[in-house]
Amino acid sequence: MTGDDDRDGGELGPRAAALAALARRSLGHLTPSEQVRGREVLRARLALRRRVVWSLSLAGIGAAAFAAVVLVPRVLHRTENAPPLAYRLEGGALAADGRIEASAGVEPALRFADGTVISLARGTKGRLADVDGRGAHVAITDGTASVNVVPKPHARWRVDAGPFVINVHGTVFSAAWNESTGRLDVKLERGSVSVEGPVTGGPIAMRAGQRLTVAMHQSRVLLRAIDDHEGDVAESDTTAAAPVAEVAPPPVLATTPARTPAPPLLAPEPAAAVVPAAAPIRTAMRQPRPARSWPSALASGDFAFIVEDALRDLPHALDASNSDDLAALADAARYRRQDDLARRALDAQRRRFQGSPRAADAAFFLGRLDEKQGAGLVHALRWYDRYLNEAPSGSYVAEALGRKMVAVRDLYGVAQARTVAEEYVRRFPHGSYAGAAQALRDQAR
């Protein structure tokens, strides 16, 4: 488009011109997959707009063509500038009040134009309460929902499970609510959510790899690793047991999202780390924690306390602290950008608790530190490989594989990275790096 009017007096200096050239080369290139995805989204939005018009003027006509596409009455009352997300309900029909009525023997699924999918297990009673331009509000009155929210800025998704409210950011999780027993079970595979409701004592921030169980009738709250089934036994014990004396949940579990630390600048962290993922936190009845333990301080966002406490006698802290404390120290140091201290805590974790899940996690974080501190992508790549080997189903696998893909690309080129990209897309088609992986595959072709 550049014409012959170069001598307009508005030339850039050589350094600024070099930056402008870099921006021109690096930004604004729409990949084929992005273009296809955009076309699909646009088509869905336009279809929705057409249906709004039809519903106003020709009520009932056209239902057969898009039987699965349903409008929420509130679409006409939207207050946001953005039009509501288009969606369709598969395997069921939507009643006038938003109830999801599943077809016989089918698990219904709500598919939104942004790629978000909310599936209901067979027999689950659910309701689509609202849809707007930023997300939707789904309520489960009994049963289980599997939720895969595509992360987007300004997105606002909410899932109610019985009396509990789950505020969702880009994430993958399942929520089960049993009306008769008053039990909530949330399993968070990726991303972050906060859960609030009776007996939680405020919002509980969860991070990837965690499972939250709330036994409302027993006033019990249990946050633990996702593969920890001890709480299931505990629940069955307590359902038959005498009334529980303790009502309030442990303060360590009640953390507000507002205290969530800001993630590092260069790359998204897999989750807002409020409570250590692999730290099995039991109910307050069985295992009360000291008021100012490091994990407790971490949960309440008091990172300075942890760091200052450790620095009083750092060698002792590194050599004598248990695995939970070392993890809390590493997290606190990372959030305070004290990377050297974080590295020492992570090194101690790996040295002293070799073979543990926390030691594996430490490998991932060491990779991130190497990448961030410019120690070299080669080192970072080694750590990511180590983590992927040591924790093939760990909480950070998606993130580690994504970072590995980028590192391989930078170190060895697109062709080498293509294999990693393909693995990423296969394993995490909706992951944070899925777009980048698809772009890389396109680039490699």
Binding site: T2, D8, A16, L19, S26, L27, G28, R45, A436
Partner: protein, 218 residues
């Protein structure tokens, strides 16, 4: 593209193709057909417009806003609004200019909205998303971030004129038309913005390792 052609025949758009006009038929003539199809609400016309102009619009949005996770959203918004305003297009053969002008206007609003909210190029979380920068080396990634931080110091008009000229590569006349300002204003704004950015870049100590004497490479 046999599928595309079949699709167009069924939608009444005749000889139109998805991206490249057939030889012998001017861009303006193709644009005029497409514009009329859009105005008449013909099936698939919107998707055809997307296929033809999404790369252009995405480029303008991306380069004006900088590395940003919202680029796709803003691009979508431009097309969505464009289709609802297509009837205001007076010269169907000038569809391309209409699209560019529309895109620039929305980007301008977006920049002003961010300025008002002090978000600038930051996301709501306060983090600059780096999806678009994943494939760059660390130096270049950093340099781009700094560039867009410095662009935040310019006014919205200065930033847009500068980006459209030096990054997007548009002519001064095209910029004047897209931004609906006079050619003289474009020249004056560009002179000022270019001088200001050059000063800022030269004075930025942190940029020196990334953009030294050697030309940065991807």
């Amino acid at each position: 593209m046999p599928e595309a052609n079949e699709m167009m025949h069924s939608s009444g758009l005749g000889r139109l193709r998805l991206v490249t006009p057939p030889s012998g038929e001017s861009q303006e003539a193709e644009d005029a057909k497409l514009a009329r199809a859009l105005i008449n609400g013909e099936a698939r016309a919107a998707e055809l417009a997307w296929d033809r102009y999404a790369p252009l619009v995405h480029g303008i949005v991306s380069r004006a806003l900088g590395p940003d996770a919202e680029v796709e959203d803003v691009t979508q918004e431009i097309f969505y609004r464009l289709f609802s305003r297509i009837r205001s297009l007076r010269k169907p053969e000038a569809l391309r200019s209409f699209v560019v002008s529309f895109a620039v206007r929305i980007v301008k609003w977006e920049l002003r909205r961010r300025r008002a909210r002090r978000w600038l190029t930051l996301s709501e979380t306060g983090e600059v998303p780096d999806d678009q920068l994943l494939f760059m080396n660390v130096d270049n990634r950093y340099a781009l971030r700094r560039l867009y931080s410095l662009l935040n110091l310019l006014t919205t008009r200065e930033r847009l004129v500068l980006v459209l000229r030096h990054v997007e590569g548009m002519t001064l006349e095209e910029i004047a038309e897209a931004m609906e300002i006079s050619l003289a204003t474009v020249k004056r704004t560009l002179r000022h913005a270019s001088a200001r950015l050059s000063e800022l870049v030269d004075a930025d100590v942190q940029l020196r390792p990334a953009v030294g004497k050697r030309r940065p490479s991807k």
